[in-house]
Structure formats: C-alpha cells, structure tokens
Symmetry: D2
Subunit: 348 residues, 4 copies
C-alpha cells in the first residue's frame, strides 16, 4: 500500500491530523437549532459544565477555550504574576511548541529542566529551585507537568502524589498539561481525575482524540479561578458561539468518547511498536505508555521513510522518530508502515 499524501488514508504524523469522530459531528448537528445566547450562557454549556463537575469534582470550575496552547497560557496567566516563575520539563509543550506565547502573554519566566523521559521529579525540582529566593531571581510559584509527557510516557499515580507533596510543601501550584489526558487515564486504568493527580489546575484536551476544536481549563482548586471569566476573554480564548464547543465536550465526557477513542489509539501504538520490533528489530526509545511510539532508526532512513509516510523526525541527527497513533488508525496501515520501515532500514 503506497501512501498518497494528497489522497490520504491515515498516517502517523500526529493525532491532530485525524478527522473528527462521527459522534462529535452528530453532536454538532444536534446543537445547531435556533438561537443560543453567546459566550456560554446557553443550555449546551450548562450541560457541559455539569459533566465537567461530575468528572472533576463538584467544586471544580471549568472554562472552555479554543485550544491547548490557549488553555496552557490561560493556566499560567491565572496563577503567575510577571515576577514569578514556572518550572517545567525542557521538553514541555509550553517551553518548546508554543512560539513563546507564555513569555509574551504571561510575561513570567519558564525554568526548563532537562529530564531523561519527559518527567519531572521532586529531586529534579529541588535541585533546580535551590538557588532561588532572592529578589534578583524570578520567584518560583508553579510547576507544570504534561500527563502524558510529550515523549509518550505516563506519570504513575505514586509519582503524581510525590510531586503533589513536593508542591504543597513548597507552596507551589501544580498545573497538568493534559492535552492527551484521556490516553494517560486509559493507560493507568484510572479516572480522568485520578490521572490528573493532585493538580491544582488542568489543561484538558480533546482535539487530539476525536474532537474538532476546543479544550478546557479546569480549576481543580476553585480559589485560583477568581477573575477567570475576564481572563479568558483577555487572552483571546472566549468563543462567541460557545455551544458548539460545549456540545462536543458533552459527547466527549457524557458518552464515554474520551475513553473509547483513547483506548483505540493506545492499543494501536502498542501494536505499532510490536510490528516495528518484529519487522525491523527496532525497539521503542521510551516506554509506549500511550499513543506515541518513539524509536531510533538509521538517520539516513528518516527522510526517505517520511516521504512515503508523513511523520515528524524528533531529532534528525540521532535518527529519533515519533509516530503517533490516532482514534482512527487501522490495523492494515500499521502493517504496511512496519513493512516499509523494515525495507528502508535494511536497505540503509
């Protein structure tokens, strides 16, 4: 099976390349009747709010926004004053993939910490934050972790608890970037709330898992939500026709779509890792906890392979590739890709 970029089946570039799940399209159609008050004062948003409270606790406060970068920046902006700092992994989306939006919009400092596998630990934080405290340095006030990480690894519940204890002891606010939290929850066999651990606030995404657009910022500590209504508009994250985001999240949370789709993409990644290992003898570079497979292949194979199967080389020099599975990844694509990869690598 040859990959045709302009007449595409599916590929492994990103879970945001996938289409929208039919149940979401159906929810959008159902929401499309009559007038609804703008900016959230509508029955669809009321329903979504109730589902968010059922999912994340009745004291939680959720705000639907446009996208994950928006949710993350709004989270930082809700907590940080511009002389404060947030610690994060060097690989964190807020540090690498948001074109400096946190610095521009929040103005605070990111303290990026190198890690082995995308995960922060109390020990890494302790060391990085030790020199701080003087007025000449930004004041550490927040820790942001990604669950799962950008390297496809998942914090265990005990690891989350240890980070929570560290943050409480140091009076640091804990933020979880959960753009793919559903995948982590499925991997842990846990609820979404459990997978977020002791987070004080959570960016909760669905676009990478079958939705069309829209993410949520969930204040698990509602005290942090003071002013958040204004803040959302102030950081360009308030949709006028909000019902169309709300309707998607009602389907996502109320019909179990988060779990069904994440289970499918996680399983696909496990199959992909196995197929690659069997066909080409290549083992994953990190544990395949969720729907990402990272692997090192001969660097000269990266470009030829990416020509027929669109994906992103993670580190060209090192030959590190990332292959993402989606809710719609099919068995036959996995097999075809593994076979192509094996041919490429053997030829290299």
């Amino acid at each position: 099976m040859k990959f045709e970029r302009d007449n595409p089946p599916r590929w492994f570039a990103s879970d945001n390349n996938a289409s929208v799940h039919p149940a979401v399209m159906a929810a959008l159609e159902r929401a499309n009747r009559g007038h609804a008050v703008g900016y959230g004062d509508d029955p669809w948003t009321a329903r979504a709010d109730a589902l968010f409270k059922a999912t994340f606790g009745r004291d939680s406060e959720s705000f639907l926004v446009w996208n994950g970068t928006g949710a993350n920046v709004m989270a930082l902006g809700a907590v940080l004053r511009p002389w404060e700092a947030v610690a994060c992994a060097e690989t964190a989306h807020i540090n690498v993939d948001e074109t400096g939006a946190p610095e521009r919009i929040v103005g605070a400092k990111l303290l990026a910490i190198p890690t082995a596998n995308g995960k922060l630990t109390p020990g890494l934080l302790e060391e990085r934050l030790a020199p701080f405290g003087e007025i000449h340095h930004s004041l550490p006030r927040m820790v942001s972790i990604s669950q799962p990480t950008e390297l496809g690894t998942v914090y265990g519940l005990d690891e989350l608890e240890a980070l929570g204890a560290f943050c409480r002891a140091r009076r640091l606010v804990l933020h979880v970037d959960g753009a793919r939290l559903s995948n982590a929850a499925v991997a842990l066999g846990a609820s979404l709330l459990e997978a977020a651990g002791p987070a004080d606030l959570l960016s909760f995404g669905g676009t990478k898992n079958g939705l069309m657009y829209g993410e949520a910022l969930v204040f698990l500590d509602p005290a942090l939500a003071a002013g958040a209504g204004h803040l959302r508009k102030n950081v360009l994250q308030l949709a006028s026709k909000l019902r169309y985001i709300s309707a998607q999240y009602s389907a996502y949370l109320g019909e179990g779509l988060w779990k069904e789709n994440a289970a499918r993409s996680n399983a696909a990644a496990r199959r992909l890792a196995r197929a690659v290992e069997e066909a080409a003898g290549i083992e994953p570079a990190f544990p395949v906890d969720v729907n990402a497979v990272f692997a090192r292949i001969p660097p000269e194979s990266l470009a030829p392979l990416a020509r027929s199967w669109f994906f992103y080389p993670w580190d060209e020099k090192a030959g590190l590739a990332r292959w993402m599975c989606s809710w719609d990844t099919e068995e036959e694509e996995i097999a075809a890709f593994a076979a192509d990869l094996a041919r490429q690598v053997r030829g290299a």
Copy 2:
C-alpha cells in the same frame, strides 16, 4: 407569540446567537475524511487561500484565526511596537469589548476618539493626533476603523478614500475591523474588497453571518505580513485542525454565502426598523445601514421587553436599545416583536 428563552425560536440579541447555516454544516461534513496535515498545510486551506486571493487581491496574504478579537489583536500586533499607538473610535470593539486584550497582548496605546455615529473622519483624527510627536507620548502609527461600525453605520466609499488619503499622508497604517464586512459590502452594493476601502490589513469575519467559528486576518499590504506565521501561533490563534475553519471559508467565499446571508440580515433589519416605526412610532437612532437597529425607547420599557425578547440595552439611562438581525431572522418574529414593543411602550 411568546418568547421562550429555554426553548428558543430566534431573537434580536446578537447575530452571534444565530445557528450555523446548513451549507456550512455540509462543508464541515465534506471536510471530515481521512487525515490532513495540521496547522494549515492541507488541501482545504490551500483552497481557502486561493479564494481569499481571488477576493482580496493576489498579493494579499490571509491567516485564518479563531475569532474576531484574535484577528484584531493579531492585526495590532503585526504592526505596532509597544511605544506606538492606534487611533480608533471610542465605540470600537478593540476599545470596549475585548477586555483589554489589545493592551495586554500588544502593549500599545489606544487613542479613543468620541464620534457621533461610530465613524472616524480625517478631521477627528487630525485633532486627536495633533499634540503627538514627542518622546513622552506614544507614537501614532495606525488607525483602526470598523466597517460597519458598532453602531450599525457604514462608511461610504468616499469616506473610506478620505481616510486612506489621510493615513497615507501621515504614514499611518489603516486597519479595518470587518467582523461584519459582508453586511457592509451588501449595503454598499460593493465587493468585499471595495467595502474594505484602502485598508492595509483587515479583520474579516463570518461567525456573525452563519459560520460556526473562525475569522481571518487579511494583509492587503503583504509587506506587513512578515513574521505573521509565527505571530499567529504566538498570540494563540493557530488551530491545529485548521481544515475545519478553511472549509467554512471556502463555502463562505466560494459559494456566495457571505452575500446571501448578509443580504437577508440587512433586509430583516430594514423590515424591523419599519415595523417598529409603524407599530410604535419609534425611529431608529442611527441610519439602519446593515443588520442592526438602534432605537431609544422609554427607559422603563427596556427591562420588561428584554424579559420576553432577549436583547442588550445599549445605554440603560438613555433607553437606547440595540436589536440585531441574523441570517435566520423570520418575518413573523419581526412582526411579533414590533407588536410586543408597541404594547410595552404604550403601557409605559
């Protein structure tokens, strides 16, 4: 006919309370197949780009964003350095309705100018900008007008030309906030490009005219677009699954939807103004150029009327109300509303 807020027909609060036009839903369904590269490198966006060039000139550069506030802030951010200023009408959306997003995100100064009808003129600008020039004052660099204005008035082509000449002579960049540009174009019997006049950059909206979400920032002067790719992400305006915005704009521009919908809402507003005048003897406060009707009614009638017909009082003390028509406003709603208004006013 009694208005039921929780089982809504349609009302006159805002054109963003309306539903999504069926042709847009159909376009979304058609776009929902297979994988598409994220962030705009997809066939739907290529098609939309071509239509934008056909509409706004082949040298223009368009960037799809989340919403109108995002388009406006990105426009200011593309032009202004933080020590510069933009002049606008006191009623401008950027000044009144964006919760300070321009100040927060661009950091520049807004020079708000009181107007009679929402329109700036060379004379008003000349007077306001006269004292500037010293290093103690922000440097005027940009003029932003709304076409149509927030008061439902439309700049004539000659008025636009006069503003353009003023801006060229003073080396000021001209921005047009065209959240409802389609309505202005229909009112003028002009093309979208003509209705934008000599704008250097344009916020072009569709959400108030039948789309679900997504607006565009159009650089009519492409020299201003340097860096705009990074800027869009940097101000939280880059959608990952961009094809779903692109597909909407392809329907909007390619199938004439902008014109059809705007013509309907403009006509509805004219009918509404006439019905109100006939039933209650109340004349519009401003010319009904597009789909907004402003009228002064006895202040004590505002609240009772808004209880049965949801709308926003514009100035409670003055009894100034705003009634917006939409692409889906029906004849019978206009008649029923006018009758209720007449009863209310006579009783007041």
Copy 3:
C-alpha cells in the same frame, strides 16, 4: 534682563529643569565613604526607611525607585492583573506623558476621564464605571489621581475623603501620583500623609523639588506590597548603589527640605501669577494652588515669548501656556519675565 539659553540663569519650563539643592549634594558627599551592600541592605537605606515610616505610618512599606514613571508603573503593576482597569483623569501623567509604559508593562486598561480642572470626583467616576462589570470589559480595580494635578490644582482634604469613600464602597484601590506631593502638602498646610488622603499607595517624588534622582513607591496599605521586592527589580526600578537615593531622601524627609523647597516654589508661582496679572492683565486659567501657573495668552505670542524664555505651550491653538516655578526661582526672574510677557502681549 535677557534670557540666554546656553548660559542659563533659570526659566519657567519645568521644575525638573532646576538644579540639585546644596543640602542634597552634601548628603551625597556624606554617603560616599567605604563600601555598602548593594540593592538596599545598607545603613543609609535603613535610615531612609525609618523616615518613611515616621512620615507615612509605621505600617507603610516604601520602595525607592528611579523615577516617577517607574513609581507609577510599579504601583499599577502591584495591583492590577492584565484584565483589570484603572480609572484616571484624561490629563493624568500615566495617560499622557509616559509613552504608553503602563500599557506595555502592566498590560491593563486605562479608563481616561475628561475633567474640568484635572480632578476626578465620585460623580465622574460613577458615570464612567457604570457600564462595566461584564466579562467583555476590563474590570475596574483601581483609581489613580494626581495630587497636585497636572494642571496645578490641589484636591482638598474633603475631596480626598469623598474619593476614598467611593473607592472603599466599590472595592477600588486608590493610588495617588504624588510627583509633587510636597507642593500639595504645603498648599494645604497639611502633612505629607494628610495630603495623600486615603491613598492605598502613593508615588512620592522629590526630583522636581530639589533632588537629583530617585522617587519612592509608598504602600500605605502594606497588604498590597506582597511581592514588591521582586516586582521592583522586575520593572527595572532597583538601583544597585541604592544608598545614593536613600541619602537624598533622608535629607528630604529628615531635614525638612521637602517643605522648605515646596514653600519656595509655591510662593514663587503666586508671585508670578500676580506679576503677570499686574503687568499684562492676564489671569490664571486654573487656581494657582502650587508651583504651576497656567494662562491663556494670544496664541501668536507663544512662540516669540518661548524663544526668550524657555517654556512649554500647553495648547498652542488655545494659547494656553504653562509656567512652572522651582525651588530656585528668583524674584528678579519673575519680574523680568512678566515685563517681557507684557511687551509681547501688547505688541501682539
């Protein structure tokens, strides 16, 4: 006596054109011995801190900064989140004369209010703030007044009290820009603390009254000072060799210099106003409460007069001039200026 710009005696352009008072130079010399720990942990700053507490209350917290714009911006930055707003007079220094620094650095919105004489009142505030409250508008959180105003008028103690009551009732923080607070206190026959009224925080200046550089941000409500140590550095306002600012303020507050100098410049302005009236029949445009005289003269006289006596026309079209007196203004300069003015006006 002919004015020679390059061999200057003194003129009436600004009180910041004056030289440094000899007692301040002496204080600087005295502080110039041995090493002192940088950034404020030194005996001179300890002494200044004690004097600030003696002046503004023992719970107050003072932070020395570089200049008045720095103090003002730090004041706004200590209080406002970027989705909040500060109300001020249209003529306020923060609105007109700081090249947009508040917008750039704090990101919040300024709600500028036209006034008759530079003074805000509860009525003006009430009207301006009425439409606010929705998430689409910046949230009013602060009121900033200048004491004295930029038009040389002084708030009476009762006027201050009325503003304080308004702010308390509306939960607004009250900031006083006291770049010339000493002049206001002398005018009122009041202490500096009384002249600041019920301010929650105060920009307190000395540079226009005989110092070389350095101003203070005084938190009269110390709860607002949380984080101010970091904030000062974060907004570029922390001097390394802080003792040299501290030594000046010790002279200013501890040796009564603030009062002596302000009394001299206030008296000079009264004499100037009288001399102008007697010589040219021109009355002041505003009450001469402090060291500024505003007057309307024939517009065509502005430029010729400013050629021999350097000063700033306030409004060229209206012929409104501002003449400032300083701690070092001499009787004979006043007489010579009034005579020249009279000749000019009669000739006009």
Copy 4:
C-alpha cells in the same frame, strides 16, 4: 585586621558595593548650576554624546539609561518582536539576575545555553539553534553575550570575530552586555570599541567601575535605533535630570576614568588570586581575566568566612565563591583577607 560590617572599610562582595570615584563627584558638582532642559536636550548630554561617538564610532547612537538591567532590556526591546528569541549563556545576567524583566517587558524567549566558562561559541549556538525555524518555535533573531562574562572570563578578539561571522551568516543581531566592558578592554589591551567586537548593540556600564548611577545603550548599528527615543521612555529608562548622568559619562570617557579604574580593579584581582594561592594553596576556578576571582574552598568554610568578609557564595554545595575587586580595593585588605581565608581553610 577585623572586618566590621557596620563600620566598613571595603570588602569583596561586588564592585557595585564600592563608593563613587572622587572625580565623578566633582563632575556632578560642576554640573550643578542653573537650569538645564530636561530629558537630554542640555549641554552636558551634548558633550557626552560627542564622547560616545568618539569612543564607539561617529555613526553610533547612544542612549543613557538608569542601569544595566534597563540597558539590556531596552536592547532586547529594540530588536525583538515577541515571537522571536535571543540566545544567551545560561549564566547570562539577562537569564539569571534580572527577575524575569526581559520576559515581562520584551515578551520574547530566552534560549539559555550551558557553557563551560560563561562564553558562547559558534558551535554551541549552531547546536542550540538547529531545531528552530518552524512556526511552533520562537524565531532566533539575536545573540547576547557578556563581555566580560559573569564568570570573569573575557572573549578574545578572535572569539568575538568568530561570533560576529556566525551572526552575520545567520542574520542574527549581536548584543554585548558590557556592564564591565572597561575591565575587558583593559584585560585585552584594547579600546572599548575593540573589546565590544562586532556587536550591533552594546550595554555599556560604569556603575560597577566608579560611577554613581546610569548606564548607556550604544547602537553600533544605528539602523537598530529607530524608535529608540520613544522606547527609552516606554521602558522607564528616561531620566528627567539627564545632565547628571551625562556629566558622569563625560568624566568616565573624557578623562580616562574608565581605564584607570578598571586597571586598578583588574590588578587587584590578580593580586588577590596570587595571595589566595600563596596563603591557602587555592587556585582560581576560572582564568582571572578581569576583576573577579572564583575559587572552590571547602563548602563548610564559606559561611564562617562570609561572616567576617562579606561576599556571595556562587554555589554553596560546590564551595564555589566569588570575590570581586573594585577601583578602591586596597593592598592591605587583600593581604588580610588571604590570611583569614588560609586560617579558615586550614581549620576546616
């Protein structure tokens, strides 16, 4: 000789703990006569400007500001748009010691690079900047180096040239943080201009070398200075009584004070390093190129020694200390300190 903190001779904490050189005090006294136009339009500033042009080239444009952090932030703000990035050493003052002011005020991203000795190289830059280019990452636009570095090392002229060539080839703007440039120039036996290498813009300091306050931002590439007059005020760096900074820089540049003072502190550091080595057998951790001595001592000796001789431990765990010499460091203090250190270390 016992150190008395409250009756201080001199110590080794920082060169900004030193007093002001008598020639600077004399210059301030000379400038203190009559009125001078504020904000730089005065004869003292004209004289300083001429000296800056004589020093840094007649096309250069210099702007006096309050302090080094102000000069650095203004430099970044003159060049960077918020979606751009500046690369710097991890130890750079802009990254570590400015409480996040660059992020807050400029909004751009800092790309911090670990180094062995505080110096960047083309190789380090090449590696760090390689992954950039996509719209999801801030666009590298500037490189900032410190000359000398915060670790007391000096870039050789060839090293500067190599960085310049790299920046030109990559179209990156080169900024030099020259808070102690005078010390580097003396170390290199070079002029100030030569010591700044191929910099496009330069933060040039004097406060650590005998001045009271004030630094300069020098645009060696004057094309970058467009708007700098407004920018200076906009980032809180414009002094009203500017003549008092200008007078200091006239003494600094025109009377050779920069060279005399830097030669003294550099020599003192060399003597200190030798004395420490002779008395305690401890070698410097980095080359003693300028007026800083870094050395590793037993970590348990840090605190006791710092109690009698105030200084800053650089890395407490590693026992790394920093001792700075100043223009006023005396021979006998060096000897006494070395003896105390030897006692402490032998006792440890």
